[in-house]
Amino acid sequence: MLLYILKRLFVAFLVAVTVSIVTFSLVRSAGDPAVAIAGPDAAQEDVERIRVQYGLDRPIIIQYGEWAGKAIRGDFGYSRFLNTEVSKVVLDRLPVTLTLGALSISFALLLAIPLGVLAACYPNTILDRIALTISVVGQALPSFWFALILMVFFGVHWSLFPVSGSSTMLHFVLPSIALGYYASPAIMRLTRAGMLEVLASDYIRTARAKGLLQGSILFKHALRNAVIPVVSVAAVQLGFMFGGSIVIETIFSLNGLGQLAWQSIHRADLDTMQAVILINAAMYIIATLAADILNAALDPRIRVN
């Protein structure tokens, strides 16, 4: 198991390096950074001066080496628009996004897994149809519209939850529901399909022949096998959430990574943009790594290979 984790960690590190190289070259090729720094109206000499001053005239490999050397030490450059170090801005925004992501995926799992199990236990009944409806609606609703509906009823009409900002945990309730509900249909359908398959398997018949009770059969023997593909999909969704949701963060005025990404792209704030993309990629890598390790813990057959 330890060897397996070490191997996966090494692969994750290689992925992170590759992503950083790709984003570095993409950001540099998307526009001339010297022009972006100097501004659109700057004279050609000023642009050239800035190019030399910032070392942008050197080969891109050297520029990347310099950037990577600093990034490893936690220095992601300086944002002239926000007048602070990029690492500070990111660290400032990260907790908001992480909280939102963690709460959203929890909500999605708590909603979707029981619904999926229920639907699989009573396939093609009214319960299955209700679960299906809930999931189809979740898939079909635009998340910004659902967020606004939540706001109108739970925020304004009944005044149950705050609708703007991130100062208390209560501020995260509505955004987490909006973001989590959007992620739940895939999890629910996957749980249902997995449970249906597992419940028809020989080892579930064995469990029944042993006289085990329904709860133990469903939640111990069946769910553990059915949930393995769910873990992988939930990890991708979590990675997506940890990257920050521009729509949800904007609607609920949460100052997270999503907003930061959008602002930095808007202002051609290259250092910030690059750091946000890298953090985003790192979150994906960490989430899938965690999923792989969790799956190996759930299913011993994965450990062997």
């Binding site: 080892y203 759930l298 011993p300």
Partner: protein, 336 residues
């Protein structure tokens, strides 16, 4: 020997796209304590569904009807599902054909064994563990303590089937149902598993229902046998009697398929029965074997064939006279 299980007129219907499949049609069997009854038949004759019907594990949609389904004084036909779950694994154990898929891949052998005792006896982890080790040793798995922490995929097919047997025996059931326990295994392993089941039966005075299509297995292990065809029992009796004088043409055909050392000449063609088992959908009249039977005559298709007592104490389901049928065996046997 006292009777442990009495089944009278058990029927199982399965809904299929074409109508209602009458998978089991009014079978009656009795099993005494310590006795091994073999139920023999081709694939699709209803023998596995019979065993699942006893366990109350029929697939969804299947209906079970029985005049009597008595296990040690308990009427299994009317018992609620929760009470039936108390009996399964505690008083009736079952092992299945496919040891490769019958164990849960995500749990250790130990935890799958232990949970039976925890469930039925409220045993502590320590007690359950000790019992699991004891049973693994009984079924010949050593070193037992080490195997407990292994997962099913780390064991061979033969070992997994031994684990299945150990699991079924955790609570020393009075009845063990074995559904094709050796079919998926190598021949040498088959023989070991069979000897093991037979030894445990004697040691524990446990009744065994052995479901198989392999008459060689029956000859080696069972006391009595019931031959099933298209959902009915067409012949039953002690293994010795039925093998010596098979009466029903189907049984005779089955026995002619087995090579007998000394009697079957090298290179000689073995017997075979043309055609396949029919699936009875909806109402059916007459003998279901008549289309494959060389002795069939018009009356075979006209009415249901009653089960007739045979002189050796068994039963057979054929319109022909017992003496004529018995005589035919002698003739057929001679020609081989």
């Amino acid at each position: 020997m006292s009777t442990l299980l009495t089944i009278e007129d058990l029927s199982v219907d399965l809904p299929v796209p074409a109508g209602v499949l009458r998978a089991v049609r009014g079978i009656s069997i009795e099993v005494s304590r310590g006795e091994m009854l073999a139920i023999v038949g081709e694939s699709g004759c209803g023998k596995s569904l019979t065993s699942l019907a006893i366990m109350g594990l029929l697939p969804k949609g299947a209906t079970r009807l029985a005049a009597k389904l008595d296990f040690a004084g308990i009427d299994l036909a009317v018992i609620p599902d929760r009470k039936m779950a108390d009996i399964r694994g505690e008083r009736i154990g079952m092992i299945f054909q496919e040891p490769m898929t019958a164990l849960n891949p995500c749990f250790t052998v130990g935890s799958q064994l232990e949970e039976v005792l925890v469930r039925h006896r409220g045993a502590s982890r320590k007690q359950a563990r000790d019992r699991a080790i004891e049973l693994l040793e009984i079924v010949g798995i050593t070193p037992a303590a080490q195997r407990l922490s292994q997962f099913p995929h780390q064991l061979s097919g033969g070992l997994r089937q031994r684990v299945m047997i150990a699991m079924a025996l955790m609570c020393e059931p009075e009845l063990l149902i074995c559904d094709e326990p050796t079919t998926a295994l190598d021949v040498t392993v088959q023989s070991e598993i069979l000897s093991l089941i037979n030894r445990l039966r004697r040691d524990l005075n446990m009744a065994v229902i052995l479901i198989t299509h392999d008459l060689g297995v029956v000859a080696r292990a069972a006391d009595r046998l019931a031959v099933m065809y298209a959902g009915q029992i067409v012949e039953s009796g002690t293994v010795r009697d039925v093998f010596a004088t098979p009466l029903h043409p189907y049984t005779q055909g089955l026995l002619a398929c087995i090579p007998v050392p000394g009697r079957t000449a090298p290179g000689e063609r073995l017997g075979s029965i043309p055609g396949v088992v029919p699936s009875i959908i909806g109402e059916a009249r007459g003998c279901s074997f008549r289309n494959r039977c060389s002795l069939a005559f018009p009356a075979c298709g006209e009415a249901d064939i009653p089960s007739m007592p045979a002189s050796h104490g068994g039963d057979f389901r054929c319109l022909l006279d017992e003496r004529d049928l018995a005589h035919r065996v002698a003739a057929v046997g001679g020609s081989h």
